[in-house]
C-alpha cells in the first residue's frame, strides 16, 4: 500500500475519485489539474486519468488521479479501481441527498477493503448552490469525523476549496509516507521494484496527444 518513490525522488500516489454520477468529480479534477471550468473543455482530450505534480516542503509528489464511473450499474466494479490506492476522494452533491447516501456506501466499502491505510476525503461539491443545500454541514462533518476522514466544501464552478482540499490530501499523504520511512523495507514480500520511473517537474501536466503516451518506457509521468 505504500506509495512508491519515483526515480527523481517523486512520490507516486494513486488517488481514486468516487461518487455518484453528475456530482462533479470530473469538474473538480479538471479544475484542479488544469484550472479550467467550462461546459466545453476544449483543450483537454480526456478527464478520466490525470496527473498533477506538486512540491511540498521540498518533497515531490505525483498525484495520479483516477476517475471512476459514477453510474449505479458500475458500482460493483469499484474494488477493481480503488485496489492499492493511497487516497480516495468521495464526492457528493450538497443539493442531492441521495448522492450523500451513496457517498456513505462508498466510504463503508473503502474502509472494508482498504482498512485505515487509505487517506480519505469527503467532498461536498456545488457549494455555490448554497440555497438548494439539503445536506447540513454539521451532519456531514460529524459523519466525516466518525470515519476518520476530512470534510471539504468545494465549488468547481467558482474554483473554491479545491486547491485546499488537494493540498490537505497531499500533506496527509506525505505525513503518512514519512511515518513509513522506507516503503520497500516495510513490505519485504512485495515484488515491486524500488526504483521508480519518473523524473518529474512541477509544471502542469497536460494531456499527451492520443497514441503518443506510454511509449516503450511505460512511464506514467515520463
Amino acid at each position: 500500500m505504500a506509495a512508491r518513490t519515483g526515480g527523481g525522488g517523486s512520490l507516486q500516489v494513486k488517488v481514486v475519485l468516487l461518487g455518484e454520477g453528475c456530482v462533479g468529480k470530473t469538474s473538480i479534477v479538471l479544475r484542479y489539474v488544469q484550472n479550467q471550468f467550462n461546459d466545453k473543455h476544449i483543450q483537454t482530450l480526456q478527464a478520466s486519468f490525470l496527473q498533477k505534480n506538486l512540491t511540498i516542503n521540498r518533497r515531490r509528489l505525483c498525484l495520479n488521479i483516477w476517475d471512476t464511473a459514477g453510474q449505479e450499474r458500475y458500482h460493483a466494479l469499484g474494488p477493481i479501481y480503488y485496489r492499492d490506492s493511497h487516497a480516495a476522494i468521495v464526492v457528493y452533491d450538497i443539493t442531492d441527498e441521495d448522492s450523500f447516501t451513496k457517498a456513505k456506501n462508498w466510504v463503508r466499502e473503502l474502509r472494508k477493503m482498504l482498512g485505515d491505510s487509505c487517506v480519505l476525503v469527503i467532498v461536498g461539491n456545488k457549494s455555490d448552490l448554497e440555497k438548494n443545500k439539503v445536506i447540513q454541514e454539521k451532519d456531514a462533518q460529524e459523519y466525516a469525523a466518525s470515519v476518520g476522514a476530512k470534510h471539504f466544501y468545494t465549488s468547481a464552478k467558482q474554483n473554491k476549496g479545491i486547491e485546499e482540499m488537494f493540498l490537505d490530501l497531499s500533506k496527509r499523504l506525505l505525513e503518512k509516507e514519512g511515518n513509513n520511512s522506507n516503503p520497500s523495507s516495510t513490505n519485504p514480500s512485495s515484488t515491486r521494484r524500488p526504483g521508480g520511473i519518473t523524473v518529474t517537474d512541477d509544471s502542469i501536466r497536460t494531456d499527451r496527444p492520443s497514441g503518443g503516451g506510454g511509449g516503450g518506457g511505460g512511464g506514467c509521468c515520463g
Binding site: 480526456q46 486519468f49 450499474r73 521508480g196 492520443s210 506510454g214
Partner: protein, 609 residues
C-alpha cells in the same frame, strides 16, 4: 628520414576537419569517414545508414532511410492492410460504414511509426548495452533464468512461474543499482534497461507461459467470447454509450481503437500489449470527445470501453489480461496511465461477465429472451453447463477413446514384439535342428541321393517343431513334379552315382502319407467340372510317380473291398461301377465314367475319406 615522415604525419592539414583526432580524407571533404557521415546526415542529405529496427516489429517500417519516409509510410500502410486484412475483416464488418476507417488511419500512421521507431530504438540500445563485456553477468543471469523457466514450465503452476519472474525482476533491478556498468546510468536509463530485460525475457518464454495448459485461461476465453456473442443485441444506447456513431470521423477512430485492441494478441511483451490497450483507450477517449465536444470523463469512458470490447470480441482477452497481470512489471500495471487503462479494461471484462437484467434496467423476461435463456435459467452457469454437457463431454470422450486406442495399439505392439521374439527363437531352434539333422545325416548312413539329402532334413524337421501353432504348410508336401535325377552312368560321368531310392529312406522321413488322390500324370489338367481335391487333401508323395509303395494295398481306413477280394481287380478299374458310396451325390460324374484308361496308375476314383 623518420622525422620527415613524422613531420608529414603531424601536418594538421591531414587531420579531420572535425578535429576528432583521426585523419581526414579529401574524398570525405576533409572529414574522417565517421565525421563525414554525421555531418552529412545533419545536413539532411539522404543517409545510407538504416534506422535501427526492433526485432520482429514492423521491420519494414524502419528499414528505409529518411528520404524514403513517404515510401515507407505507404509501404507500411499497404502491409498493414495486406497483413491484417483477413484478421480484422470479421470484427470490422460489424461497422456499418467500414471504408471510413481508412481516412483517419492514414493520418495516424506517421505518429505511429515514429513511436514504433522510438520504442525500437530504446530496445536496440538495450541490446547494444547487453553486448558490452561488462554486462555479461546480467546476460548469463538472464539466459540461465530463461532456461530455468522453460524447464519448469511443464510441471510448475502458472502462479509459481509468475512468482519466479516477479522475483527475477526484483533481484535484477536491485542488481542493476550496484552493477558497475549500470550504476552510472540515470534512473531513466536503468528503467529502460529493466524494460528491455522484461521484454527480452517475456518474449522468449512467451509460448511457455501464455495461457499454458496447466491453467484454464483458454476455457475462460471461450466462455467470454461465447458471452459476447450472446450479447450481440446490446445497443450502445442500452449501455449509455455516448458515442456518436453516425459521425464518420468517430466511426473511423472507433475502428482504429478496435484494431488496437486486436493488436494486443499479436504482441508478446506485456508492455507492448499494455501499449496497445493504452492506444486503444486513447482513441476511444478521442472519439468520445468528438462525440460530445468535451473531455470524456470516466462516466462516459467506462460504458464506451465495454461497448468497444463487446463489438471487438477479442479471442484471447482473458488470457492476455492474466498474462499481463502475472508477468508484467507490477509497477506498470498498478500505476500510471497504462495501469489506469488496464484497470478499466479489467473492469469492462468483469462487467460483461456479470451483465444482468437489472444492470441494464430492463425486465428479466426481456433480458432472458434476448440472451436466449430458456427455462428461466438466467445464470452464467448455463454457459458452463452447456459447455460441460455438449462440447466438453464430447471432447473428453473423444480424447478418452483416443487414449484407449493408443493403449490398445501399445498392447498389440507389445504382443507383436513378444511374438517376434518367440518366432526368432523358433527360427534359431529350427536352424540348429537343421544343422543337427544335416550333421546326423552326414555322419550317419551313406548318403542316399542328393535330392533326398536336401529335402529330408526339412521334411523331418517339421516334426520337431513345437506344436503350439499348427501349421499345415509344414506337412511334408513335395510337389509331384520333383523327380529323382536320372542315374548317372559312373563310367562316363564325373557325377556321383546314386543308387535308386529304396525303402530305407523311410528312416529319415515321416511315415509316408497316404495318397488319397492321384491327380494324374504331370501335365494332366482335369476337365472342368471334374473332381478337384479339397485344399486340405494331401498331394501325392514324391515317390507316388513310381508305383506307390503301398500299391496295391490300400491304406488303413480306406474303403476297400473285403479281404477275399484282394488280388481281384477292383470293380472300379473296370469302369462299370463306382467305389464311391452314394452319399456323395455331387460327384455323380464318376458313377458313370466307363472310359478310364489309366489302368496302370492307382484308380482315379479311389477316395479315402
Amino acid at each position: 628520414m623518420a622525422s620527415e615522415w613524422s613531420n608529414r604525419l603531424d601536418n594538421p592539414d591531414l587531420r579531420c576537419k572535425n578535429k576528432c583526432g583521426f585523419y581526414g580524407n579529401p574524398m570525405y571533404q576533409g572529414y574522417c569517414s565517421k565525421c563525414y557521415k554525421e555531418v552529412v546526415s545533419h545536413e539532411g542529405k539522404p543517409s545510407k545508414t538504416p534506422a535501427p529496427v526492433a526485432k520482429g516489429q514492423e521491420s519494414d517500417a524502419g528499414a528505409e532511410g529518411l528520404g524514403f519516409a513517404k515510401f515507407t509510410r505507404r509501404k507500411t500502410l499497404f502491409n498493414s492492410a495486406k497483413g491484417h486484412g483477413k484478421i480484422f475483416k470479421a470484427p470490422l464488418k460489424i461497422r456499418p460504414n467500414s471504408n471510413s476507417g481508412a481516412q483517419p488511419s492514414q493520418e495516424e500512421e506517421p505518429s505511429k511509426s515514429a513511436k514504433t521507431r522510438r520504442s525500437s530504438d530504446s530496445f536496440n540500445e538495450f541490446m547494444k548495452t547487453l553486448k558490452k563485456p561488462a554486462a555479461q553477468d546480467i546476460v548469463q543471469h538472464l539466459k540461465s533464468f530463461k532456461r530455468q523457466i522453460v524447464e519448469k514450465s511443464p510441471t510448475a503452476t502458472i502462479e509459481e512461474l509468475s512468482d519466479l519472474v516477479q522475483e527475477f525482476y526484483r533481484s535484477t533491478s536491485e542488481r542493476l543499482v550496484t552493477h558497475p556498468l549500470f550504476k552510472t546510468m540515470s534512473d531513466l536509463e536503468q528503467e529502460e534497461t529493466m524494460d528491455g530485460i522484461e521484454k527480452h525475457l517475456t518474449t522468449s518464454i512467451y509460448r511457455y507461459v501464455f495461457a499454458p495448459p496447466s491453467c484454464d485461461d483458454d476455457i475462460k476465453d471461450l466462455l467470454f467470447v461465447r458471452r459476447i456473442n450472446m450479447l450481440h443485441w446490446l445497443e450502445p444506447s442500452i449501455l449509455d454509450v455516448t458515442l456518436d456513431l453516425s459521425n464518420i470521423e468517430v466511426q473511423g477512430i472507433v475502428a482504429q481503437a478496435r484494431q488496437e485492441l486486436w493488436n494486443v494478441e499479436t504482441r508478446k511483451a506485456p508492455q507492448d500489449k499494455l501499449n496497445c490497450i493504452t492506444k486503444s483507450c486513447k482513441l476511444l477517449l478521442d472519439a468520445l470527445r468528438i462525440s460530445h465536444g468535451g473531455p470524456a470523463s470516466a462516466d462516459e469512458f467506462v460504458p464506451g470501453l465495454i461497448f468497444l470490447v463487446i463489438h471487438t470480441s477479442p479471442q484471447h482477452l482473458q488470457s492476455n489480461i492474466n498474462y499481463i497481470t502475472r508477468f508484467s512489471n507490477p509497477m506498470r500495471v498498478m500505476s500510471g496511465e497504462c495501469g489506469y487503462y488496464f484497470t478499466n479494461l479489467c473492469g469492462a471484462v468483469t462487467f460483461i461477465e456479470s451483465i444482468s437484467a437489472d444492470k441494464l434496467k430492463m425486465s428479466v423476461e426481456d433480458f432472458n429472451n434476448k440472451m436466449g435463456y430458456v427455462n428461466g435459467k438466467t445464470d452464467a452457469d448455463l454457459l458452463i453447463e452447456e459447455y460441460d454437457d455438449e462440447e466438453m463431454v464430447e471432447n473428453m470422450t473423444i480424447i478418452e477413446s483416443c487414449c484407449e486406442a493408443v493403449e490398445k495399439i501399445n498392447e498389440r505392439l507389445q504382443e507383436m514384439s513378444n511374438e517376434t521374439d518367440v518366432m526368432m527363437s523358433r527360427l534359431d531352434e529350427l536352424k540348429t535342428g537343421v544343422r543337427e539333422q544335416v550333421q546326423s545325416v552326414l555322419s550317419g548312413p551313406p548318403p542316399q541321393s542328393l535330392y533326398k539329402k536336401k529335402l529330408s532334413p526339412v521334411v523331418s524337421k517339421a516334426s520337431h517343431l513345437p506344436t503350439s501353432t499348427p501349421s499345415p504348410q509344414i506337412s511334408p508336401r513335395v510337389p509331384h513334379y520333383v523327380r529323382p535325377p536320372l542315374p548317372v552312368n559312373p563310367m562316363t560321368s564325373s557325377g556321383t552315382y546314386y543308387p535308386p531310392p529304396t525303402n530305407r529312406m523311410a528312416n529319415y522321413q515321416q511315415p509316408m502319407p497316404q495318397a488319397p488322390y492321384y491327380p494324374g500324370p504331370p501335365g494332366y489338367v482335369p476337365r472342368p467340372g471334374s473332381y478337384v481335391p479339397p485344399p486340405g487333401a494331401h498331394a501325392p508323395p514324391v515317390r507316388s510317380y513310381f508305383p506307390p509303395p503301398n500299391f496295391p494295398f490300400p491304406p488303413p481306413g480306406a474303403h476297400v473291398p473285403p479281404p477275399a477280394a484282394i488280388g481281384v481287380p477292383p470293380p472300379a478299374v473296370s469302369g462299370s461301377h463306382t467305389l464311391v458310396p452314394g452319399t456323395d451325390g455331387s460327384r455323380s460324374r464318376t458313377q458313370s465314367s466307363p472310359n478310364i484308361t489309366h489302368t496302370s496308375s492307382p484308380p482315379p476314383l479311389m477316395r479315402f475319406n
